[in-house]
């Protein structure tokens, strides 16, 4: 549709070149098709909507009391319809199976997707607010609880109660947003690394001098969550980061870069997310997860409905679906720890500790500035 303004073909030389380029696309795609099919990495196409392995529930699963998203108790005429826009920073491989499963449960709702990394998504929302006074999406499904708190504080999010939120762990329940999946910051080690670290404190041990990698809290929200936890816990404090620095720890950007650095042998150990380390290990990289004492730093990816939405019914139905048994199974099937018990997926390998997000949110600038005096920017 929006292709229309460009339907006029470019001038002479461009046409020939476009044809040449297009031809090579076909060649390239054709060449790698044999590699594509056997890999089957669980990436269904949202449009083709195959019965994916992740969405293990049959259509009848929507009658499941726990899922409740089809709201069997509500009047049938109230079934949500129409179109909603989903703004998300959740990885594509997780969004896809959830959209497929949602499409089966709510065939009358069209979900349009805008997916971008946290930085780009926040910038888009900031521009949206200045341009049209509201976020462009109806639903915000984000990666770390920090930005969602800023939006909640600004009154951007709708206050309501998902019918199926009551049986979730209260740690994941708020007035305007809810946890959807659990991210665990833990230790990744090279398989041949001796000794095996057992606690966060071990990262400051001389045995790992010059060979520890950590993600940058100014770059990744999950790394900020870890910073918040250590800053708030008296036996660590920001002094923990000073001792890491004194031990020669190196700061990378994203947790994935830490996993890669350890897999390549550039570092012996590092601080990363369980999903990242687990995926690498499952593919055959020489790394292992360590669930450190006193616990992995657990945080959650939140979801909420935008106050200004014009289709609250469908938006709320989507959120309830994500929190439902079916939605949680789809999330768990893509490799993340779900917030709902019994949905399958990876289980915690030990204790979990949590940062106080409300407190960390208030100290965002201060914490990042103090961190920067230690590791630089």
């Amino acid at each position: 549709m929006s292709l229309q303004p460009f339907a006029a073909p470019p001038r002479r030389a461009p046409v020939a070149l476009t044809v040449a380029l297009t031809a090579s696309v076909v060649l390239v795609l054709g060449a790698c098709a044999p590699g594509a099919s056997p890999s089957a990495s669980g990436q269904p196409s949202a449009s083709a909507a195959p019965p994916s392995t992740a969405a293990s529930g049959s259509p009848s699963a929507t009658a499941d009391g726990a899922s409740g998203s089809a709201s069997p108790s509500a009047e049938a005429s109230e079934a949500p319809t129409g179109s909603i826009i989903l703004y998300t920073s959740v990885p594509q491989t997780t969004v896809d199976p959830v959209l497929v499963a949602f499409g089966e449960a709510h065939p009358d709702v069209t979900v349009e997707l805008f997916r971008a990394p946290t930085g780009e998504l926040s910038a888009r929302i900031a521009a949206d607010l200045r341009d049209q006074g509201r976020a462009g999406g109806d639903i915000l499904w984000l990666t770390d609880p920090l930005s969602v708190q800023a939006y909640a504080e600004d009154g951007m999010l709708r206050s309501w109660s998902p019918r199926n939120a009551a049986d979730l762990d209260p740690a994941y329940v708020n007035d305007t947003f809810w946890g959807t999946r659990v991210l665990n910051m833990l230790i990744v080690r090279g398989t041949d690394v001796e000794p095996t670290p057992t606690s966060w404190e071990d990262l400051t041990d001389p045995a790992f001098a010059e060979s520890v990698a950590i993600p940058n809290p100014a770059f990744a929200g999950s790394a900020f969550g870890a910073l918040g936890y250590f800053a708030q816990t008296s036996e660590y404090g920001l002094d923990f980061y000073r001792r890491l620095k004194d031990n020669g720890a190196i700061q990378l950007n994203a947790p994935d870069e830490v996993t890669t650095g350890v897999a390549e042998g550039r570092f012996k150990v590092g601080m990363t997310l369980d999903f990242s380390a687990r995926s690498a290990a499952e593919k055959g990289s020489p790394v292992e997860l360590v669930w450190p004492e006193p616990g992995a730093i657990a945080m959650y990816g939140p979801i909420g409905v935008v106050e200004a939405t014009e289709n609250a019914g469908a938006s709320e139905a989507f959120v309830e679906f994500v929190l439902s048994q079916d939605g949680q199974e789809a999330i768990a099937g893509s490799g993340w720890e779900p917030v709902r018990e019994g949905a399958g997926g990876p289980e915690p390998g030990g204790e979990q500790v949590r940062p106080d997000w409300a407190e960390a949110f208030g100290r965002q600038e201060e914490l990042l500035e103090e961190y920067a005096t230690i590791f630089g920017g």
Binding site: P5, G265, A280
Partner: protein
């Protein structure tokens, strides 16, 4: 003549109007956002120690990148245009290969090839010290920028510098170095200055490379600081800081580009005599050998390392046949990628065509005053980092164009206009004015002159400029990932989706596919195009 003058004024007016719409308005909206809460926010944003250090880091690395890229590009141009014999085509193609590789991918290739635990380190225990840090940033961005500098200098050498002057100097007994110092380089001065400006802005603007290589050394630049502020832009303070940093980049660009354009002035030179080249001697052969080795080391080895990474089952495993697989290529693609590639090709070629039309307007317009202004203004779009330019375009045009391909097109035109303009400007400068005058004096109307004289001579440059913009559009990641809407996702969205999964073997696979996508049709065309460029330049002379 009044008729021609009127047409020139109209062309300049049109070009200025377009520049105001796609560049001026968005940049002003950006600056206004930075000043939303008065100038204190702006001062606060730029006054902090981190931001001050980022500005300083950006300035000195961009200067070093410009110096290195122009030196390398000029040396390579002297070899391919003045010395090399048979291998000339291969060397030319080799010099342009980095254009086909997105910079962040080049950085990934360098770390895999020369970094700690890279392939060289694993094979012979040698790593490049300082790759993670300012040295690596300068080296890799300079490699990425060198082809652009090379194109500008080589075009000037092929058509602007007068080979007869060089020959005369040689015959009068001047040594090669003396000729280079007293004849060739002074004649190249405008091209060198132009190449320096483009390479400087290229360095100022780099994001992917400093993001990958700077973090371990805690080396931040304006663009990486800006990205970090954007990541926290749910907070108003951080968002304003990001827009303030972007505005500071615009100011730096205005100062640098404006000064350079003022220096460049309107000098013209017409070439006499046939193109030089084919000469050699021992020094020449040494130059060819050095250039060939340099191309292999800075481009081919990292590209091979990337390929090795792409076919290895998992990161951290040695790239031996037992670990080879094609699975990563499958993970790198999904069904949506195909549609996205189509849209990206459409957008890039539409942007390239529009950019060339606009560049032609500027060049056909009046030379002084407003014409100079238009030439400088188009460079601003290139100077603003993609993420900030995308926000600026969304602020200025989101109301009417939100979620359409047109808004991405506006951003592409704003960003890449400068590339097309600078590339074409060099060749238009070198147009033999006597030919045009002769045709006009013989009674040819302006359009006939354009069709029979100007366009045929410029054809290779137009083709090169068009390609440069198409490739830049295909490699562009940030802008379209911020501007796309339902149904208008581009290749960038697919690339970022894959990149964010954080598996370097899959990212490398996608990078290999992307490079192949551009390289397969581009290499033969560039090769033929350059050959014809020399042919037609020779004929024109």
């Amino acid at each position: 003549m009044a008729e021609v003058r009127g047409a020139r004024v109209a062309a300049t007016t049109l070009a200025l109007a377009a520049a105001a719409a796609v560049i001026g308005l968005p940049v002003l909206r950006l600056a206004a956002t930075a000043m939303e809460h008065g100038p204190t926010a702006l001062v606060g944003a730029l006054g902090g120690p981190l931001a001050a250090r980022a500005v300083a880091n950006s300035l000195w690395t961009a200067a070093a990148i410009a110096a290195l890229a122009v030196a390398a590009g000029t040396a390579a141009a002297l070899v391919t245009e003045r010395v090399a014999g048979g291998g000339r085509r291969w060397l030319r193609a080799g010099m342009l290969v980095p254009l086909l590789i997105p910079p962040f991918v080049l950085a990934l290739g360098w770390t895999r090839a020369f970094g700690p635990r890279g392939y060289l380190d694993q094979a012979v225990g040698v790593e490049l010290p300082g790759l993670y840090g300012p040295l690596g940033i300068v080296l890799v961005v300079a490699v990425a920028a060198a082809p652009v500098a090379y194109l500008i200098v080589a075009a000037a050498l092929a058509s602007r510098v007068e080979p007869d002057l060089e020959r005369a100097a040689r015959m009068s007994g001047a040594g090669r170095l003396t000729v280079l110092r007293t004849v060739t380089l002074p004649l190249l001065r405008p091209a060198l200055l132009g190449a320096t400006v483009v390479a400087f802005i290229f360095g100022l603007n780099a994001f992917g490379v400093p993001a990958v290589l700077g973090a371990p050394a805690a080396f931040g630049t304006i663009t990486t600081r800006l990205y970090q502020d954007l990541a926290f832009s749910a907070s108003d303070a951080a968002f304003e800081r990001a827009t303030a940093l972007a505005t500071s980049l615009v100011v730096v660009a205005v100062v640098v580009v404006g000064a350079a354009d003022a220096l460049l002035g309107g000098r013209r030179a017409a070439r006499t005599g046939l193109p030089a080249g084919g000469g050699g001697g021992q020094a020449g052969r040494l130059g060819v050998a050095i250039l060939a080795v340099a191309i292999v080391v800075v481009t081919a080895l990292p590209a091979l390392a990337l390929l090795a990474t792409a076919v290895t089952r998992a990161v951290g495993l040695p790239p031996v046949p037992a670990n080879w697989t094609l699975d990563n290529f499958g993970e790198a693609l999904d069904v949506r990628t195909v549609g996205a590639i189509g849209r990206s090709l459409l957008l890039s070629s539409a942007a390239a065509t529009i950019v060339l039309g606009l560049a032609a307007l500027v060049l056909a317009g009046v030379r002084r005053g407003p014409g100079r202004l238009a030439g400088t203004a188009v460079t601003l779009g290139f100077a603003v980092p993609g993420s900030a330019l995308a926000i600026a375009v969304l602020l200025a045009w989101g109301g009417v164009l939100r979620d359409t391909l047109a808004i991405i097109l506006v951003a592409y035109v704003a960003k890449f206009w400068a590339l097309g303009h600078r590339q074409l400007a060099g060749s238009v400068d070198a147009l033999p004015a006597d030919l045009v005058r002769a045709a006009r004096a013989s009674g040819a109307r302006p359009l006939v002159v354009l069709r029979t004289i100007t366009l045929p001579i410029l054809r290779p440059s137009i083709l090169a400029a068009w390609f440069l913009v198409v490739i830049s559009g295909l490699h562009e990641l940030t802008m379209s990932s911020l501007l796309y809407g339902p149904g208008t996702s581009t290749l960038a969205v697919a690339v970022i989706n894959v990149q964010q999964l954080g598996d370097p073997t899959v990212t490398a696979s996608l990078a290999v596919l992307l490079t192949a996508l551009v390289a397969l049709p581009a290499l033969p065309l560039l090769w033929l195009g350059r050959a014809r460029a020399i042919g037609s330049a020779g004929a024109a002379g």
